[in-house]
Homo-oligomer: 216 residues x 2
C-alpha cells in the first residue's frame, strides 16, 4: 500500500491551517473531490451507525444565503467547495433496523443472524441514552467525520477551514434539514488558500507536546 | 510537498477498520509513534484553544486496570499503544489567558496586541456558554482530535480501534485525570492488526454516497 512517511504526515499537518482567504478562482479537481466525499462516507462512527448527513453546497445562491449566517465570513462563498455537517438528533429502533438491513445488503446474510448485534445497538444507544444524550452521541460522531475530513484533505494537499461560528438553526432553515431528520452542527470550507492569506505564514500555536501528551 | 493521491487516500481509508484483534508482538516504531503524537498535538480546535489532554498508557499494569473498565476488550492490553482522550470540562478566562500567553511565546508580541482576540474567545466560549455547553464544546474538539488521529494513523498504515464503550469515571479514577482538570471521553488502541482478525476481511458497511452526501 502507498502511505505517507511519518515526516510527510507531520509536514502536511503543519501545512494545514484554518484558511481565512481562499483562492476563489481555484477549484478542486473532480477526482480529488470524489475522494474527499468518499472520505466523509468512510468516516468511522460508533457501531458503524453513521448518524449523519453531509450537504455539499454547490449553488452560489444558497452559499450567499449561508454567508450572513456565518458572521459574513468570505470562506462560505469563496472556497471551491463548502460542506455542512449535520447530525441525526435521535436514534430509534427503526434507525438500527435500517443499518442492520444495510449490513445484510453489503455483507449478505439475514437480520436474524445479526440479532445479537442489533440488541447491543438498541441497548447501547436507543435504550441507554435519553434523546438528549443521543444528540450528543451523534454530535461526537459528526466531529469524528470533521476531523477525518480535514486530515484527509491535508493528506491530499487540499485546504480547509472548519466553521463552528455559524447559526445552525439558520442553516437548517436554508437547507431544509430538519424535515429530512437532521440538524446542522458545523461547516467546513474546502479549496486552496489564496497566495495573500497572511495567516498561512503565522507559526502554528500549540501547547508543548509534553504538556498535552502525558505518558503513564 | 509529498501528498497521497486521491486513490491512495481512499485505499487507506478503506483499509482502516476498528481492529478487534491486534498483533500483540508488533510494536509501532518510535519515529512513527512520534509522528502520531505530533498529529494529536496538531489537531485543529475551536479558536485553537486545545481543551484536551491525551494520555498514552505505556504501563502494562495500568492497561490491565483499564481493561475491565472497557468491557474486557483485549485491545486495551494487546495493542502496541493505547491513548485516552480527555477533555477540559469547562473553559475559564484563565484558560484563555494561558492560550494568549502561549500565542505570544510562539509568535512574539504582547497580550495587549491580542486583546480583541482574547475578547472574542472570552465572549464566545467563557461567557456565551454555560459550563454544560462548554463541556459539549470541549468534547467536540476532542472528537476532532480522534478523527484526525485515526486518519493520520491510516495514512501511515497504522491500525486503530476507537473505544467509546468504556467507563469514563473508572478511567478518570485510574488515571487521576480530574485532579489535573480533565475528564476521560474516549480511548483509542493503536498498533497492527493480527493476521487472524476475521473482521479485517469483512466488507465495510456504509450507506450509499448518494444517501449520505447531498448536493444543493
Amino acid at each position: 500500500m502507498t502511505t505517507l512517511t511519518p515526516a510527510a504526515l507531520v509536514t502536511q499537518l503543519r501545512w494545514r491551517y484554518a484558511v481565512k482567504k481562499f483562492d476563489a478562482a481555484r477549484k478542486i479537481p473532480a477526482e480529488t473531490w470524489a475522494a474527499l466525499e468518499e472520505a466523509l462516507v468512510l468516516s468511522p462512527s460508533s457501531y458503524g451507525l453513521q448518524p449523519w448527513r453531509f450537504v455539499v453546497v454547490d449553488d452560489p445562491a444558497v452559499r450567499a444565503k449561508l454567508q450572513p449566517l456565518s458572521w459574513n465570513q468570505a470562506q462560505v462563498t469563496e472556497a471551491s467547495h463548502f460542506v455542512v455537517l449535520a447530525a441525526r438528533p435521535t436514534t430509534t429502533e427503526a434507525d438500527v433496523d435500517a443499518f442492520i438491513q444495510r449490513m445484510c445488503e453489503v455483507r449478505g446474510g439475514t437480520p436474524d443472524a445479526l440479532a445479537a448485534y442489533r440488541k447491543m445497538m438498541v441497548g447501547g444507544v436507543v435504550k441507554a441514552m435519553s434523546p438528549e444524550l443521543q444528540g450528543h452521541w451523534a454530535g461526537h460522531q459528526v466531529y469524528i467525520a470533521l476531523g477525518n475530513f480535514m486530515t484527509a484533505a491535508a493528506a491530499l494537499g487540499v485546504d480547509t477551514c472548519p466553521m463552528e461560528g455559524i447559526n445552525p438553526a439558520g442553516y437548517d432553515e436554508v437547507l431544509g434539514l430538519p424535515a429530512q431528520g437532521f440538524k446542522t452542527l458545523v461547516a467546513c470550507a474546502v479549496g486552496y488558500r489564496s497566495a495573500d492569506d497572511k495567516y498561512a505564514a503565522a507559526p502554528k500555536v500549540r501547547y508543548a507536546t509534553t504538556e498535552v501528551v502525558r505518558h503513564v
